[in-house]
């Protein structure tokens, strides 16, 4: 190939050649979009007349995009795949709502009763309304929320619903269960040789064992942690990858999900720790006695900070990735020109590729650091104290 020794020039030339395609493709969608917007403006005018007052929909484009991104990164009580704003239709499916209220007890009903936050749901004589922050509040029959619009002061019932994040986690858990169960069976059938999709997963499982567990935890103790490390690795990886699909799932970018994972790591670390680990926390060997009193609280704080940083790292990485990606896609609707759209396409393509890498990297980092903490908890006493 003639152009292969000048890859950059080639890419630029192809881009310039493709620009007319972008622009002509864009005009068509733009006119459709403009039409849709016009009808949407009518629809908004219509709904605002009918609205209950506190349910003011965002009207201009930027705040609409903002609301959409905010809605995406939050957990939701229904699974919405896409929506037709002009027709006012939502495509998706409702999820079960499970509420525990102190006065009226257990409530189980479908989230379709909320009608995407527009209606007041009635169950066993109690009324519930979905707030703007995707939380459920107890109200009266008219659905009045006290306090300001974004932070109502109504009573919040205990919400045990199968939300979007819970649903996606259950989905991944079932997928993983059947995938790895099937793989385990296929090894027996094939006489210990990987077959099918196992050829893809076997090196990864071995990598987690040989390059994450054994070097960090040690030959002697690594086996009892392997089940957790493998589970958490594949769980985070699959959830991250599913979060990049157009399904609109954002489970690992939800701080409650990562907090639960971090709490599990915290308990495993501290419940399997030997006396050597606690000795290093409360009475650090090999330092002068006054220093031991200063180091003990710092080390004790470190016990909590370690899983806390695990939680923040995974959450913030995925959360930030989703926001950046959606903002870049939203550029298309803000610029409404061939230049903006092609820029948005290129940037979102590049960021998507990076996000696929980040999905794997974050699963790896989480597993790696968990293994590091487990390794510190079961580390044997050093006998070569002489060189300290």
């Amino acid at each position: 190939m003639v152009f292969s020794n000048k890859p950059l020039q080639f890419i630029v030339a192809v881009l310039v050649a493709c620009l007319p395609l972008f622009s002509s493709a864009n005009t068509a969608t733009d006119s459709v979009h403009a039409k849709a917007e016009a009808t949407h403006a009518e629809a908004i005018a219509h709904t605002e007349k009918a609205a209950h007052g506190e349910h003011a929909e965002p009207t201009d484009l930027k705040s609409k995009i903002n609301a959409y991104i905010n809605h995406h990164v939050l957990d939701a009580h229904e699974f919405s795949l896409f929506e037709d704003e002009a027709a006012g239709k939502h495509y998706g499916f409702p999820l079960p709502i499970i509420l525990w209220d102190k006065e009226s007890g257990l409530h189980i009903f479908s989230s379709s009763k909320f009608n995407h936050g527009h209606d007041v749901a009635e169950s066993k004589g109690a009324y519930f309304k979905l707030g703007h922050d995707e939380k459920i509040y107890k109200t009266d029959a008219a659905g009045t929320l006290t306090g300001d619009e974004h932070h109502p002061t109504n009573v919040k019932p205990l919400d045990l619903s199968i939300t979007k994040a819970v649903f996606s986690m259950l989905l991944v858990a079932i997928l993983m269960f059947f995938l790895f169960k099937g793989l385990a069976k296929s090894y027996v059938k094939n006489g210990g040789i990987a077959s099918g999709v196992g050829r893809f997963f076997e090196p990864i499982v071995l990598y987690v064992r040989d390059d994450i567990a054994i070097p960090n935890i040690g030959e002697k103790h690594y086996k009892k942690y392997m089940s957790f490390l493998l589970t958490v690795f594949f769980f985070i990886w699959f959830l991250n990858i599913i979060g990049l699909t157009p399904l609109g799932i954002n489970a690992t970018g939800n701080i409650t999900v990562t907090a639960c994972l971090a709490i599990i790591v915290f308990f495993i670390t501290n419940l399997t720790a030997n006396k050597n680990y606690w000795g290093h926390i409360f009475w650090m060997p090999g330092v002068p006695t006054p220093m031991k009193f200063i180091l003990a609280p710092i080390e004790l704080l470190g016990v909590i900070i370690k899983p806390f940083s695990l939680m923040i790292r995974l959450y913030a990485n995925i959360f930030a990735g989703h926001i950046v990606l959606m903002s870049l896609i939203a550029l298309m609707f803000i610029f409404k020109s061939w230049l903006g759209s092609s820029l948005s396409f290129l940037l979102s393509f590049a960021i998507s590729s990076i996000e696929i890498l980040v999905a794997l990297l974050q699963a790896y980092i989480f597993t790696m650091l968990s293994a590091l903490f487990f390794g510190a908890a079961v580390e044997e006493h050093h006998h070569e104290e002489a060189h300290h």
Binding site: S309, R313, A320, L361, Y364, M368
Partner: protein, 66 residues
């Protein structure tokens, strides 16, 4: 969001960026010097980068929190 918060967020990102950049650069040097140890160097690099990133994100959230 007021000005000090924005400046604080910027400082956090600059600090974390310098830190991760230095780790990456040093890892490159180390790999160039000892290519056979590249696996171990990469692992150590990723852990160090992840720790700095965690601190950076924590500070960023503290800054951005209303």
């Amino acid at each position: 969001m007021d000005i000090p918060r924005i400046v604080g967020a910027g400082l956090v990102v600059i600090g974390a960026g310098i830190g991760i950049g230095r780790i990456g650069g040093s890892a490159m040097d180390a790999i160039a010097r000892q290519p056979e140890a590249s696996g171990k160097i990469q692992t150590a690099m990723l852990i160090a980068a992840a720790l700095i990133e965690g601190i950076g994100f924590a500070a960023l959230f503290a800054v951005a929190e209303n």
